[in-house]
């Protein structure tokens, strides 16, 4: 096969997925970008002509605080989820096969209940009259005046609860393929349990950790239902603002401009990480040498 022919084949093979990406991802993103440069329309749509006014209105003095809170909550949620998912994945992978299925089932069981209902359940639990609040106050752990609901901590708690299964699954998938004899090898060479875990297990499941990071961090950034229900006005995230601009203010261009801000906030650090990862993988040849 000539190089040109091979190249053509490659293009043909990747064409469907490229098309899929273009239609469902690139075009909508471009539309969002385009609408950001449109004036508002009294009916809530985008008006005719082009303007920079919408982008200028992003200078709203409230926004830096909200953007910062959005990033902070998403990063902390991601970190906590991975921190919790890693030992869970490790234990799951070491569990006997029959128990593994069982526990895995328990991890995904919450998905059978509507997401909204589960968030409302948390609202009930954290409510001043709710079980958790009553129990903690009864035990004297929190004072009766301390609100558990309508603040950033409630948002963080419920976000971690919501995204944890999404972190556990990829970490478990990687841990299941991990060769645990490597841990024995590390112990044999003098590593304590925890050293073996950090130096051999974590690098061994790094792809799973990376997937968990993306799968939690990106939706966390865009979340607005959770802060809407358990967060108060002081715990708003960018997603709330976008929803508010669309549904309440009927200002589509402004919502698009905010989305653009969010995309940039995610895209820039992410491309940096991906580029770094790619460079490191490239340094490692994958060609098998004949024995």
């Amino acid at each position: 096969m000539t190089p040109a022919r091979a190249r053509l084949n490659e293009i043909l093979v990747t064409l469907p997925s490229a098309g899929w990406l273009a239609v469902l991802f690139v075009v909508p993103a471009l539309i969002v970008v385009a609408i950001s440069f449109k004036p508002t329309d009294p009916l809530g749509g985008a008006g005719a002509g082009w303007t920079l006014d919408t982008l200028k209105s992003l200078g709203n003095p409230n926004y830096p605080a909200i953007l910062w809170r959005t990033l902070w909550l998403s990063i902390t949620t991601t970190a906590l989820c991975i921190l919790l998912a890693t030992p869970v994945g490790y234990c799951l992978a070491r569990l006997e096969k029959k128990w593994r299925q069982m526990v895995l089932l328990l991890v995904v069981v919450p998905f059978w209940t509507s997401f909204l209902i589960r968030i409302f359940a948390w609202k009930m639990l954290l409510h001043p009259e709710g079980i958790i609040k009553q129990a903690l106050a009864g035990l004297g752990i929190v004072s009766p005046e301390t609100p558990l609901l309508y603040n950033q901590w409630a948002v963080l708690l419920v976000m971690v609860y919501t995204f944890l299964p999404f972190a556990i699954l990829p970490v478990y998938a990687a841990a299941e393929k991990f060769d645990f004899r490597l841990i024995e090898a590390a112990r044999d060479l003098g590593a304590r349990r925890f050293q073996a875990f950090c130096r051999v297990f974590l690098p061994g499941i790094r792809r799973g950790l990376f997937t968990a990071l993306l799968i939690v961090f990106i939706p966390a950034l865009g979340s607005y239902v959770i802060p809407d229900i358990v967060g108060g006005p002081g715990a708003e995230m960018l997603g709330n603002k976008i929803a508010q601009r669309v549904f309440v203010d009927r200002n589509l261009p402004h919502a698009c401009a905010l989305s653009l801000l969010l995309i940039l906030a995610v895209l820039l650090p992410l491309t940096a990480v991906l580029a770094l990862q790619g460079a490191r993988e490239k340094a490692r040849p994958i060609i098998e040498e004949g024995a």
Partner: protein, 379 residues
């Protein structure tokens, strides 16, 4: 060879449910020795090795290494290192970092680590591959990295669990020689696990033959081959022919006369001082027989029986015959002493004489002690 009790297993047992993986094993290994555990699959070799490495706790008994009871120590605090059958190289580390792993854990100064790693790379002749990752090097190279990674820790005992099993024949033979050289060079005690008697024979100073959790015999390769102490050892180490018989008479101090059904009287060396009327197996290895067309009277110490050739298998440097003698089908191998085409070789259905020297047979008791009351003598 120094102190004879450098490494000791004392009454070590490890059972998994009803399986006695290791059963009351006592063993002592000398410093600097190349010691092999040899036995069939599932006989408990790996379990015994894992008990020494600290991955398995014995149910009873203890392990003593240079005077210290290490039975309760975790693996990272034992001065032994293992070469795993699967090598277990860390896939995310280069060859160099794999070898350095043990010293990094010890937090040795970087300069010292670099120096030691260079030395090891030289020993295994893999300087050029130091920057490669394990999945890009060949099986033999992985093997050598695993050896270097363990040796750099300067263990008191190096444990090797069937390290050559995954290699092809050519490579296995080369690594066999390399292992031997490395053992001579570093002078560390090697505990080598294998189910391949050839490997064990060619490498070891001493061998322990294991069978379903117990040690059947410990000795030098020659002792185990020439004087096996049980029928299991005799059969497992090389081929052998067994004949059921009975001690009929003692001839002087050293020999005895045996009765074997359908055979003329047979003389055998009686090193175990078995008494008259003991029931025994007589074991004679195929290469100890000689077959010929004419009856050859050599000496009174030679036994001769008539038989008929049932099968001839030409195997290059030697020929294997199956000879029918009464109810026995005897395996005989003969080196080709003369150029094969010159003579008229013995072939199918010929009547032949099979002979062997009394010293080349050995007797094994047919009943273990617990069964002795079952013995009822014929006649």
């Amino acid at each position: 060879m120094n102190a004879p009790d450098f490494l000791e297993f004392k009454n070590v047992s490890r059972h998994f449910g009803s399986i006695r993986a290791v059963d009351q094993v006592s063993l002592s290994i000398r410093k600097g020795e190349f010691f092999s555990l040899l036995g069939p699959s599932g006989c408990g070799k790996t379990t015994l090795l894992r008990i020494l490495a600290g991955f398995e706790r014995p149910d009873t008994g203890c392990v003593i290494l240079s005077g210290q009871d290490i039975t309760q120590l975790p693996p990272n605090r034992r001065k032994v290192n293992t070469i795993f059958q699967s090598y277990a190289l860390f896939p995310h580390l280069t060859v160099r970092d794999n070898i350095a792993f043990g010293l990094r854990i010890e937090k040795r100064p970087q300069r010292e680590i670099d120096h030691e790693v260079e030395r090891m790379l030289e020993l295994i002749q893999m300087k050029a591959e130091a920057g490669k990752f394990p999945d890009t090097i060949s099986g033999g190279q992985k093997q050598r990295v695993a050896i270097a990674r363990a040796l750099i820790k300067k263990p008191q005992v190096l444990l090797l669990d069937e390290p050559l099993a995954a290699l092809d024949l050519k490579l296995r033979q080369r690594m066999l020689i390399e292992l031997d050289l490395i053992h001579d060079e570093v002078g560390i005690t090697f505990l080598y696990v294998t189910h391949d008697q050839g490997e064990a024979m060619s490498l070891s100073d001493r061998i322990a033959v294991m069978n379903s959790g117990i040690i059947e015999q410990v000795g030098t390769p020659a002792e185990i081959y020439e004087a096996p102490r049980s029928s299991f050892v005799a059969a497992f180490i090389g081929d052998t022919n067994f004949f059921e018989g009975r001690v009929a008479e003692l001839i002087g101090n050293e020999y005895s006369r045996l009765v074997i059904d359908g055979f003329p009287d047979v003389t055998v060396f009686n090193d175990k001082q078995l008494a008259v009327n003991n029931l025994i197996y007589l074991s004679v290895r195929p290469e100890k027989f000689h077959i010929s067309r004419e009856r050859q009277e050599k000496s009174p110490r030679h036994n001769v029986v008539p038989g008929r050739v049932e099968e001839v298998i030409y195997q290059g440097s030697l020929t294997r015959y199956w000879v029918r003698v009464q109810e026995y089908r005897i395996a005989v191998t003969q080196q080709h002493s003369r150029f094969l085409l010159d003579e008229k070789p013995i072939t199918w259905d010929e009547n032949v004489w099979v002979s062997w020297h009394a010293d080349d047979g050995f007797m094994l008791e047919r009943y273990s002690q617990s069964d002795e009351q079952l013995v009822t003598l014929p006649e």
